[in-house]
Subunit: 200 residues, 2 copies
């Protein structure tokens, strides 16, 4: 017995989520179908709401609700611009606190093997924002991986502008980590990036 | 910055799925929000379709589409009734093939600690089906766990009827498993359930 198309469609949509395979998608669909009817209605309504009111900010690439960007519409320091790969990274940095500037979401990292070239990312939009001349510090916070580093390097080589300082996130051992279980690359970075005991 | 209520609602609904924590639900929501608009629309439509057309069969507890049960409406052997805990189990058995009878989905297993008593499951509905007298074999296929076994035992003690054979699934080493990595309980079951080389 094959499942009816209406359930197959739902499973196929669930399987699009990252890390959700066919089996997990099936489990999700069956869980939803076995749940009280209100839960299906609530999920349906929540997705409908998001579909209707959430869009992507044309300026920074983060989310806008009813047309107002959750970040750009705030009163923030417009001289700092922090470049990340994904919207999720913005939420992580906001949650950590301490940064008051604006963001720029690229939408991924360069990956020639997967066909992701500069034109697939929001890099031109970044140049345009820098052309306005308001930004004085560009913080490249792409992911600490080979592709993330390559993306940061590519951008840093193409945005040389007067009065623009280009920085990247500090690298080293994360808070709470044990040196014993840190990988070699992280330890090398931490040694190279060592600081005086009295530096901030 | 907290996320806007519209996104928080979506995350809360995703987090209801089994095995999906707050972090995974957030990742799912952000993935959906970053996806092309068609994907949000497709998921919304798929859930709406399911909400509208899928219901639970009052007879067996499996799914019905537009009022017709996917199993009961088929031409099947009505003398065998196979009892499972969840709708997902029906799909697994149908996929395996070889069973042509009807099913009865309990909706879980007995668990006094979690407050799941016989009245929380579809056990009374099972008795009613048996009262009709059509069923001649009741196969108890609850999960191979302490709770599943207790549920099967409880049912078998309460359904004694004339002309009703009560059976349960065979237990033993699963196909393709290595004896080395089979747990003690499984090996004991396999030994107890040993059969002559010429038996089916």
């Amino acid at each position: 017995m094959l499942l009816p198309p209406v359930i197959e469609h739902l499973i196929a949509e669930f399987a699009r989520f990252p890390g959700v395979g066919r089996r997990s998608a099936e489990r999700m669909a069956f869980d939803l179908l076995s749940a009280p009817h209100q839960r299906v209605a609530a999920l349906h309504a929540a997705i409908g709401q998001v579909e209707k009111s959430v869009s992507v900010c044309a300026e920074c690439g983060y989310f806008a609700v009813d047309g107002a960007c959750l970040i750009c519409a705030q009163n923030r320091d417009r001289e700092s611009l922090l470049v990340v790969e994904r919207a999720l990274d913005v939420t992580a940095i906001e949650r950590a606190g301490g940064y008051r500037g604006l963001y720029h979401v690229l939408g991924g990292h360069l990956s020639p093997l997967k066909g992701i070239s500069p034109s697939s990312l929001r890099i031109d939009a970044l140049y345009q924002r820098l052309d306005a001349g308001t930004v004085h510090e560009l913080i490249l916070a792409t992911s600490p991986s080979v592709e993330g580093d390559a993306t940061a390097l590519y951008i840093s080589r193409n945005v040389e502008r007067e009065n623009l300082r280009i920085t990247r996130l500090g690298r080293g051992v994360p808070m709470g980590a044990s040196l014993e279980f840190s990988d070699a690359g992280t330890l090398r970075m931490a040694l190279e990036g060592r600081r005086g005991m009295d530096s901030p």
